[in-house]
């Protein structure tokens, strides 16, 4: 059943391509229905799951190479599949106003979603890689066609970074496939194979960093701010919300699962990179002039927590990392929605200095309130999902590397400061400029926007208050035998 999340998205994309370009509202409705369908399936899947691995489909694909079409889901996959569903639905709601090449927009959008679902559900590494790459191309076009601010540059940078990352992954995967000599890409079977230490020492960082580029690992994060800024709202929501998670998920599912010895050897350096990312992203976000850049860099900072959590190799740190993936996906999506859709589409500027004079707090109270709540969630206020996640990550970090935990705390403080700065400048400017004559107030927030915001807000509060909903999925999957070394500090 879960496999239909993938099929529905691709079917929707195909259907849109067959549609005449004149039918704009039909395109929107088809896209929304596909996304909602996917989300409902994801919900049903999560509802029925107890977090342990369940097979969805497993058939031979290319027997001579041992490739399988093998879809399965454990709690971690399901968490991210749910996130994808949420991001897909709300992203469409926030792009309801798109007028330019509507059908193509949603077709690319759904193709991206389908690829993302596929990555999260694949347990055959070749299949996973296929879906991973499928997701690259639609991103490029979404940004290059419908983006803003240096869109072609941002799109190309993102595409090349992703592709270089995936090239690194491919090298590692093919090498592991050949070295294991088992003629299979089945994750669970490869995980049993004891790769020699010398091999793991170079393959692990190759594959990990290959994935982590997409997760915004410092210093390979530079695609993220430009990409996020250039992307149209829905695409930046997906980029921050889901695509960055692809990287973190891949790093966890592939690199960390297959190469435990390499992981142990590289644990400290990678944790250092993750922590640097936390502090660096936050510091840079502090001085940005462009509203969207603030959020872009904040994504780098928050993804640093995910990677730090992964590197702790403790039960609590890992479950925190997965929770943080979910949480950041929702919160960043919401922030981008406010900045890109509610503010930029109406004011046509993202310069904080200009916004400061607009008094948007009064002109767009809904946007102000939404952004404030999302900002509070983003800065890790208790009651929102980010708090629980970062708390778990930091507790894990205390266990593994206390000094990084302190730096993580610094990151949290900086996060508060830059978020407040953005809120203050964007919505509660102190010196509103007198409105120019003939200046019209921005159009009011539309129903789809309200709906989208409410869905995301509800999700972050729900998970913030009752994280068990997800933790009950995540923790059993961490207890699976092939994950044991990950929660035991790296020892099998």
């Amino acid at each position: 059943m879960l496999a239909w999340t993938i099929y529905i998205s691709f079917l929707g994309a195909g259907l849109l391509l067959c549609l005449s370009s004149a039918h704009k509202s039909a395109a929107r409705v088809i896209a929304l229905l596909s996304a909602v369908g996917g989300f409902i399936i994801a919900l049903a899947g999560a509802w029925a799951s107890d977090g342990r691995l369940q097979e969805v489909i497993r058939i031979s694909w290319v027997p001579s190479l041992g490739l399988r079409y093998y879809l399965a889901a454990d709690g971690i996959s399901l968490t991210l599949v749910l996130l994808t569903g949420l991001a897909a639905v709300t992203g469409i709601l926030f792009s309801w106003n798109i007028q330019h090449r509507v059908r193509e927009f949603f077709a690319f959008y759904l193709a991206l979603i389908g690829g993302v679902y596929g990555v999260f559900l694949s347990f055959d590494l070749f299949l996973l890689f296929v879906f991973y790459e499928i997701a690259i191309v639609p991103k490029y076009f979404l940004i290059a066609i419908w983006g803003s601010t240096r869109k072609e540059y941002g799109a190309m940078k993102l595409a090349l970074y992703s592709f270089i990352g995936s090239a690194m992954v491919l090298i590692g995967l093919v090498a592991a496939y050949v070295v294991a000599g088992a003629n299979t890409f089945d994750l669970l079977e490869l995980a049993k194979y004891p790769f020699p230490l010398g091999f793991q020492l170079w393959v692990f960082p190759l594959v990990f960093i290959g994935f982590a580029i997409l997760a915004g690992l410092w210093p390979f994060h530079t695609w993220a701010p430009t990409g996020h800024v250039a992307a149209p709202t829905a695409a930046s929501m997906l980029l921050a919300g889901v695509v960055m998670k692809l990287g973190a998920y891949g790093a966890l599912r592939v690199a960390m699962t297959l190469f435990p010895l390499g992981l142990l050897a590289w644990q400290k350096p990678l944790a250092l990179l993750a922590t640097t990312g936390i502090v660096y992203g936050a510091t840079v976000a502090l001085v940005q002039k462009d509203f969207k850049f603030v959020i872009g860099y904040s994504s780098v900072s928050h993804m640093g927590f995910v990677l730090l959590g992964l590197m702790t190799l403790t039960n609590i740190g890992l479950s925190g990392a997965v929770l943080q993936m979910f949480s950041h996906g929702i919160i960043a999506g919401l922030l981008f929605a406010v900045v890109g859709r509610m503010v930029y589409d109406r004011t046509h500027t993202r310069e904080l200095a200009v916004l400061e004079g607009m008094d948007l707090g009064r002109a767009l109270p809904f946007a102000a309130v939404t952004f404030t709540i999302a900002g509070a969630a983003s800065m890790g206020m208790p009651g929102f999902s980010g708090f629980v996640a970062e708390l778990q990550v930091l507790i894990g970090a205390w266990k593994a590397f206390p000094y990084y935990a302190l730096l993580g705390g610094l990151g949290v403080i900086l996060g508060v400061v830059y978020t407040l700065r953005a809120i203050r400048k964007a919505f509660f400017g102190e010196h509103p400029a007198p409105p120019e004559p003939g200046h019209e107030p921005p159009p009011p927030i539309t129903l789809p926007e309200r709906l989208g915001s409410l869905i995301l807000l509800a999700a972050t509060v729900l998970i913030g208050l009752y994280p068990r909903l997800l933790l009950d999925l995540i923790i059993p999957s961490l207890n699976a035998p092939w994950m044991q070394h990950l929660v035991n500090g790296g020892r099998p």
């Binding site: 391509l17 694909w61 290319v62 027997p63 001579s64 190479l65 193509e104 070749f126 890689f129 296929v130 879906f131 790459e133 499928i134 690259i136 191309v137 490029y140 076009f141 290059a144 066609i145 072609e152 190309m156 595409a159 090349l160 592709f163 270089i164 995936s166 090239a167 491919l170 090298i171 093919v174 090498a175 496939y177 050949v178 070295v179 000599g181």
Partner: protein
């Protein structure tokens, strides 16, 4: 030896030769003086019918045999390859309908058929004499095809360049062959191989291998024998360039593989990073590495789409060489899969270029602006083909590349000595995405100055869509072709252990 049997074994070739005569005859007799459009249509239909007939014959009369102990080999593997070659020619013929560069319709289609005939013989020969003859048959036809647009200076230049370089390469090849013959006293590949093992390693052998590689390297446009390719691709009429890029490539790679793995199977050597050993593998590895680097990096700077495709073809020759270097049955199958699907892909790309060129008069990048508005079908085909060339799943190009990498690494397993070449190839495929996206950016992102829809012939549309579907199909279900090739290879050479 009975001539009836020979005729049966050579039936596809004979059908093709008959078609050739028919095309020439029809065009010269009752079609002469008619509208060029009609003449093209008839010639193309005849060509397609001939190709289809040959394919049909192979499909329903699978006769196999070794004639003259290997001068002519007809086995399942050559049959599959021939079918694909005929398909490629049929598609090229249909795409030719989009162009109107010559009044000599019959001759043009005839030469296409003649070149194809050469390809078929190249595939079937395992004797250096017939190999050379078949190669020359194909090459001479291609020289003429390249220079066929007589009114166009670029086409003439392309033809001349192709001819001069080709002549030189043929000379090298012939010299190499004669050295091989001199060293072994044999012309059959298998026997040459047997003799080389008994002869002590000879500097002359190295010279001979180098000469052979020079000659064949020219055909597959591997660096440093690639200099002709950009000018020919750009200057030659688009269908000619398409045939050079697709059918000729496939036949040449098939030949190269046989030449190396059968004829020189005892002078393999090693290309592993820490254990280089003399032989043709390190030489080919060098060629592959150079082709990858030069092809991909030079393509970055191109503004003409045909030139871009030329440099990408050089790079793709580098990828395909990995399959030869693997020197294993998996490598052979991977190579064939790659070159076959590359043929479909590049035909699709050239088909789109042909239409765009006819409609806008240019093949510059800017000519593709707004393509997705002006003709969604063409844009879609271009999208599929270029992304397949870039190696994006789930398209055939991705699986082909992956299969090559897996094959070459597995051939050397558990040592990963050849990994350096794989890393190079994968890294440069990331570079290649950049230039393919440059074209797609024009087609999808940029707006055209005037958005008049393109008029595209239904036949062209049909062919292009079919090609794109093939690319998708073989990407999603590569086993359709891979299992067939594996079976054929097993049947052709039971107990084959490279």
């Amino acid at each position: 030896m009975n001539y009836g049997e020979l005729l049966k074994l050579l039936a596809p070739e004979s059908i093709l030769a008959l078609t050739l005569l028919l095309v020439l005859g029809a065009d010269a007799t009752f079609l002469s003086g008619r509208a060029p459009g009609l003449r093209r249509a008839v010639a193309a239909s005849l060509t397609v019918a001939g190709c289809m007939g040959a394919i049909y014959w192979i499909f329903f009369f699978p006769i196999h045999g070794h004639l003259f102990s290997g001068v002519l080999v007809v086995d399942p593997l050559t049959q599959v390859t021939k079918q694909v070659l005929l398909l490629l020619t049929a598609a090229t013929a249909l795409l030719t309908l989009e162009t109107a560069f010559t009044p000599h319709v019959g001759e043009y289609f005839g030469l296409q058929l003649l070149a194809t005939l050469g390809f078929l013989f190249m595939v079937s020969s395992e004797d250096i004499l017939t190999i050379f003859v078949a190669l020359e048959l194909a090459s001479l036809s291609l020289y003429m095809l390249a220079s066929f647009a007589k009114g166009n200076l670029a086409s003439a230049e392309a033809g001349l360049k192709y001819f001069l370089y080709g002549g030189l390469a043929s000379a090298f090849l012939l010299f190499g062959f004669s050295l091989l013959y001199g060293l072994t006293g044999e012309t059959l590949l298998a026997k040459i191989a047997a003799k080389i093992t008994t002869t002590p390693r000879d500097p002359l052998l190295v010279v001979a291998i180098s000469m052979v590689l020079t000659g064949l390297g020219f055909k597959i446009a591997a660096v440093p024998f690639q200099l002709w390719a950009p000018d020919v691709y750009e200057g030659a009429p688009t269908p000619s360039a398409a045939l050079i890029a697709s059918g000729s490539k496939l036949a040449s790679f098939f030949l190269l593989e046989k030449m190396m793995t059968i004829g020189l199977s005892s002078a393999v050597g090693s290309g592993a990073f820490h254990a280089l050993a003399a032989g043709w593998v390190p030489m080919l590895a060098m060629l592959a590495g150079l082709s990858l680097i030069v092809g991909n990096l030079t393509a970055l700077a191109q503004t003409s789409v045909k030139r871009l495709l030329a440099y990408s073809a050089i790079a793709h020759a580098g990828y395909a060489l990995l399959g030869v270097i693997a020197n294993s049955s998996q490598g052979f199958v991977a190579l064939l899969f790659y070159v076959m699907t590359y043929g479909f892909t590049v035909l699709g790309a050239f088909g789109v270029v042909a239409v765009v060129e006819r409609q806008t008069g240019s093949d510059r990048l800017e000519a593709f602006a707004g393509l997705s508005r002006r003709s969604p079908v063409l844009a879609g085909v271009l999208f599929v083909c270029l992304l397949s060339l870039a190696g994006i799943p789930p398209l055939a190009g991705f699986f082909g590349k992956f299969y090559l990498f897996a094959a070459i690494l597995r051939a050397g397993a558990p040592s990963l000595g050849i990994l350096w070449l794989v890393i190079l190839a994968i890294a440069l495929s990331a570079v290649s995405l950049f230039y393919y996206l440059q074209v797609l950016k024009q087609a999808f992102v940029r707006e055209a100055p005037l958005e008049l829809p393109f008029s595209v012939k239904p036949s062209t549309q049909l062919v292009l869509i079919l090609l794109a579907l093939c690319v998708i199909l073989f990407g999603c279900a590569p086993d359709l072709l891979v299992s067939k090739l594996l079976l054929a290879l097993k049947a052709a050479a039971p107990g084959l252990v490279f």
